[in-house]
Subunit: 255 residues, 4 copies
């Protein structure tokens, strides 16, 4: 008898800022197994972070540091050419700040995941990827990095001796080379719950996802990412979780 | 035979930001025993903090977290009415961020000292003082708070079970009630090295400082503060250190 | 025959920031006659401002500059002690920035209204009020200031030779002295549409509003303010407008 | 008889921020004919801008808006991929803010020059160049843009119907294609006053500058740029001005 696939479900949380609310952190904490919590550079004021960490601890959700470029106005979605030493220090600062808040609430940062434009840039830029890996390793040599399989981020993390956890996206379009379709292109975001759920199920049962051109891509991710900041995000996440459970997968964090 | 007075010498460091340089961190690290390092809210980009922490570790200088209001444009010198829960989370975020950077460089945050307007407000505002103390205690229940004797900050820290370390200012004017003369008033800053040095010596030998009206105030501080951001700051700090040593004091950090 | 009361209806708009949405600018532009548009210091990225200005011009809504403390994290709701020359320059900067954007869209800034904590502080602090008035006068000596009757803001604007326009709040609680109940106190916000609408009608027909203690306060405001950032804000604004029209008032901007 | 070459001398000013000082604005105002004044996005708090504008007006120096990416931490030197509509609105905001401050001091913004990474990116990126040009044209259809000859910035400004003013750099290294050597490469900055002065003289007398490989590049710039933020900047600027005058050039602003 084949054992059940174990899979993590991650989403971005803690992305409110001061008077501005974004996403439904409470609802998502009841669905995901890992929370990529903003660290204040693209979103996430300290009080928001503290509340999300408290909620994550209460529900047994693992807290990840969602590190970003320093870009509140652009929500970390504008690519920046940051010198490596600066980027490394900025990532270290963010991981440490969130970990301190998590610890004050009885939790800890269990992994690091770059956000937005930094995620995409580091996936193909060995220099920025190395800066992120160096920052994480300088904070905790055993802290996993969550990223795309085959990315420069994964390679740099591996070279730095860090555990690498790969993820797939249930609600993002894939190019034929396994990279994500940029947000400003057609097919970037899937929003129809049934389609997203079916895709998530296909990933865990068959290890396959279809690209925007219809090519079948093989992947065996340890985590599935759903987005928390889109309209209907909570419904999508619920649909994905239900589909994963129906497909026989066991949902569990990796950290 | 009377044992020598042991006294700490602290100054503000890490107050550059990006392209802007402020103070001579390297020179001050050779003089002080404790460095109040900015945490990014009033000054101190992460790379600057990292360099200062590395320098402090190399020289055996104790690192303190100089927490501030979020106010780069005002350098943390503009008083703000921040709701306590927000302030507490902001202080926690800053302490954790700096501690993580310090640890990556082989050091750690050994104490917390509020900066600028937060220092002055908390000294008389029990609510903000309690928020600071709660933040520090939530991060590390044994982390000392460095502040004015008799201040609301000292009282709140004590009530939170935190070690309280008191300081005196060699280069600031005192009011008769032991509070500092605000920076925009006459007599706020002493800049003549001999006068500042004599004052420092008087504090450790006689436990006395003269107020702006000539009243003799009694104090037995464990630390003496000199400023790092004034013109001639390094010369002043050197003069103070030399005077303390001539007066027979033993310079040593408290943390 | 008594002529109809002419009254303006103003609300805060343009308070989104980057990825964060706040309020329904489009819906409010169809209801109000004057839009207090954020200027980037407490909210309002430049692209948001541009869109709001374009919408206001398209609908004939007058654009006002809603100037604030520099405090994105606190949404301008945290009182700050800003030195007058700094505050004056910051207000001038904001008014000019918004006016340039408005002009690029075929409109202009027709008045200035301080936001949040600056509104409240200036209402009782002659120094900050004078800084605001000086900034407005230095930009345009004929630019009206919209504020509470009897406030320090009104007095300073008058002394600076600026037109003063007074407003009343349909959805805020009043103290007996005509000041607003602070947001963190009971009775600060009225949220029941019928009550708010009745209050607005009472103001224009009888020139009376009831304080939280039940005292009748006399006022003859040229403008009525409704809030745009509360849940149900659009419904409230519509109810107020309808009530004003039913009461025979003619809605028209003052600038 | 050949008439004297008329040339403008421009430098970056207003790049202090709050407590941080950068450059000697007063000294430079006595040397240059045009001041590229920061607009608050990479440097330049409103009070600093006001003081620089007042100084420029007093000395008859033309004020230019030195628009930048929103990046205080990186001083606008980190390239950013900003969507065009956002960039356009951000540039418009900056130009308008500075113009308002300049007008309050009796001056006005006479031209626009992108700063740092935006200058370099726009010089080769038609999309960002077009966004800048659109912003300038939407503010004032006759406002000149100061940039490198042959750049995408120049082309976009021309297509938008804006006057284009070209500049050469007395203290920056040139590549063979007329672009500037990036700041992190050898030969990027010239710091020896005699060499910089000789180069400036060669530009106005012979219309020639030598690239880093020794190639002679032809250029006939209407303006010469010297930097204000390097050590010895004032001395360099003085040397350049003296050399230009010795070479028979007449120094005069273009706007």
């Amino acid at each position: 008898m084949r054992s059940a696939t174990v899979v993590d479900l991650n989403a971005d949380l803690g992305e409110s800022y001061g008077a501005w609310r974004l996403g439904d952190d409470e609802a998502l904490l009841a669905i995901v197994t890992s929370a990529n919590v903003a660290c204040g550079f693209h979103a996430g004021d300290p009080l928001t972070l503290r509340r999300v960490c408290a909620g994550a601890v209460a529900r047994g959700v693992v807290i990840g540091a969602q590190v970003s470029y320093r870009d509140l106005a652009g929500f970390g979605r504008r690519e920046m050419t940051v010198p490596p030493a600066e980027l490394e220090a900025e990532v270290l600062y963010q991981v440490a700040a969130l970990d301190g808040i998590a610890r004050a609430e009885g939790g800890w940062v269990g992994y690091v995941k770059p956000h937005g434009a930094l995620y995409n840039r580091a996936a193909r830029d060995p220099e920025q990827a190395a800066a992120i890996a160096a920052a994480v390793a300088s904070y905790d040599a055993g802290l996993p990095v969550l990223t795309l399989p085959g990315s420069a981020t994964a390679k740099a993390a591996q070279e730095a001796g860090l555990p690498v956890i790969t993820e797939a996206f249930a609600d993002r379009g894939y190019n034929d080379d396994g990279t994500l379709v940029p947000r400003d292109r057609p097919g970037a975001m899937l929003t129809e719950p049934d389609a997203v759920a079916a895709r998530a199920a296909g990933i865990v049962t068959d290890g396959v996802v279809e690209s925007v051109t219809g090519t079948r891509l093989s992947l065996r991710p340890r985590s599935i990412c759903v987005h928390g900041d889109t309209p209907g995000a909570v419904g999508l996440a619920r649909a994905v979780r239900a589909a994963l459970e129906r497909a026989g997968a066991k949902l569990a964090p990796f950290a």
